[in-house]
């Protein structure tokens, strides 16, 4: 019985790993293939002669494969660079503002009592439940009036309307389960603000780090609003730029390389915060 359970567990893990990694492997591989390898059928399972050419091309550089053969810079390089910069700006600013707002907000909801707390909390939860599509048209109409359509600022604001309630809701649960250190802090003479800054934030650093990752990933992957509000403008993000290529007949290896670049920041963020992600236990923050 024990053995079979382990076997099934391994099988489950294997399926999950293949499920997640296979597509990533596929376009990672594709980004390293030469154009005629891609055109071949059946496609090669591993790059026979891996070249990083596509990665140079998408950032606007020619790549000298052999003295006679040069792979030319991609015509979409400008859009990719612009999209990458915009996405980084939006994600970093959104993450920073989200955390600045959410940490005190979630703390207040999780740990303090005040009038109308329940009603306010429900309002936040409702806005989490609202699908982005339902607010898309009103936002668009509003943004056109205000001249915010097609601006990074507009996109940042609209992304914040999603990340703030969602991350608040997430962090409230985490902060609630912290031990009642506020009483200790009050006896030691910490003010409310000092308690938050010197006690609660260091104590909750894992939860806060994970919340920041989630805000970042959300902003980075945000597509619905970007498609409507900034697509085709100078404020285009990487996600919408990439989806736009499908209509521009890009070289497949360029598309694949751009995809790899687009998943790099989330991978890096997750990698550097993995200790906190593993440490974060939603039920019992303090082991």
């Amino acid at each position: 019985m024990q053995r079979r359970m382990t076997l099934w567990a391994w099988l489950g893990i294997a399926v999950a790993v293949v499920w997640t990694l296979l597509p990533i492997y596929w376009f990672l591989k594709m980004s390293l293939l030469t154009p005629d390898e891609i055109a071949r059928f059946p496609p090669p399972l591993v790059p026979l002669d891996p070249t990083p050419a596509a990665y140079f091309n998408i950032f606007g550089f020619d790549y000298q494969v052999t003295p006679e053969l040069v792979r030319r810079a991609s015509g979409q390089a400008g859009q990719i660079i612009n999209g990458l910069i915009n996405s980084l700006i939006v994600s970093i600013v959104v993450t920073a503002i989200t955390m600045l707002v959410v940490v005190p907000l979630a703390y207040v909801f999780a740990r303090l009592d005040f009038r109308f707390k329940q009603a306010l909390l429900i309002t936040i939860l409702l806005s989490v439940a609202l699908p982005p599509v339902s607010t898309l048209i009103p936002f668009y109409a509003l943004y056109v009036q205000l001249g915010l359509a097609g601006t990074l600022f507009g996109l940042i604001v609209v992304t914040l309307t999603i990340t703030i309630p969602f991350v608040t809701w997430m962090l409230i649960g985490y902060l609630r389960n912290l031990p009642p250190v506020e009483r200790l802090a009050r006896v030691d003479g910490y003010s409310r603000l000092e308690t938050l800054v010197f006690i609660v934030i260091p104590l909750a650093r894992s939860g806060i780090a994970v919340a920041a990752v989630i805000a970042f990933l959300f902003a980075w992957n945000e597509y619905t609003y970007a498609l409507v509000l900034v697509n085709g403008t100078p404020a285009n993000t990487l996600a919408t730029a990439l989806s736009g290529f499908l209509f521009q007949h890009p070289e497949p290896s360029h598309l694949a390389a751009a995809l790899v670049v687009s998943i790099l920041p989330p991978v890096l963020v997750a990698y550097f915060l993995q200790r906190h992600i593993a440490e974060m236990n939603l039920v019992d923050p303090i082991r």
């Binding site: 009050r186 006896v187 030691d188 003479g189 303090i286």
Partner: protein, 350 residues
Amino acid sequence: MAGIRLDHLKKSFGAFTAVQDLDLDVTDGEFLVLLGPSGCGKTTTLNCIAGLETPSAGRILFDGRDVTSDPPHSRNIAMVFQSALLYPHMTAAANIEASLRRSDLAPEERRRRIDDAVSMLEIGDLLDKLPSEMSGGQRQRVATAKAIVRQPTAFLLDEPLSALDAALRMTLRAEIVNLQKRLGSTTVFVTHDQVEAMTMGDRIAVMNGGRLEQIGTPSEIYERPRSLFVAGFVGSPPMNLIRGEVADGVFAAGELRVPLAAAPGPVTLGVRPQHLHVRAEGGLPCAIFALERLGRETVLIVEDRARNRLRLLVEAEFEGRVGDPLDVAPDPARCLLFDDASGLIHAPAN
């Protein structure tokens, strides 16, 4: 050091009143235990003394000075919380030092106090550890050290031992009392464990439903409980309480008869298990329900014909089996009588 006085203290949470019209005097240097069942308002009272809760009405005086609206740290109290709460992300040393962050002591004095507390509680090898790396007893010691470095006006302890196992509890019980007597500091200790209260307190304040039932020395509380609640709550095994009626100088309940000079009327008779004896005959006919051998003595639980259970303390060697018939009779000189409304109405003279 200081005396603490609660003057008509009241604390409500919305419509619910947790503490009602509480008058309490803790004298300078005294170890006062607040005893009561779960939810009776002990923590709330302690939090009011600490300044963590603002009373809805009434005043709190430290040495005659009104501190009702002072914040906790300016009252110069030290508190040990339920299950020895510490800052989980700080080492023992940082936790202890946090107690002194608002004091303007010279660095040497600060060092000296910390060193004293550390050696007094023998926690030198714990200083670099996080609370999660300590045992419950070690956490308790660190929390106590954190409290004493402040040299506070008063120590407030909220069930500090409740999360520990019985053996450790017993050790720390003695340590806390010993420390308190050496420092001579006014102490309020909250517990729902009557053994803890009896063994530790100079005086015990018994609370029930947000009210003070009785305050007195452990022996006063034990010998002359002022109400049925106190009688039933204090003492282990608990006092036998038998509802009946007094008529013509005799208490009668079912087949039980006890000669007692008291005013006629419906009453409850209270008798401690050690004052209920096995008789050859002429007592209340019962059958043995259970035997609990404690080693030094045995608790005998018997059932009369109306299926009321009574507890007796008998010698350790007592022979008997479940179901054996026997007669029991209380010692009339050690019986208490309670009235539902006015509490204790008859007690043996001593």
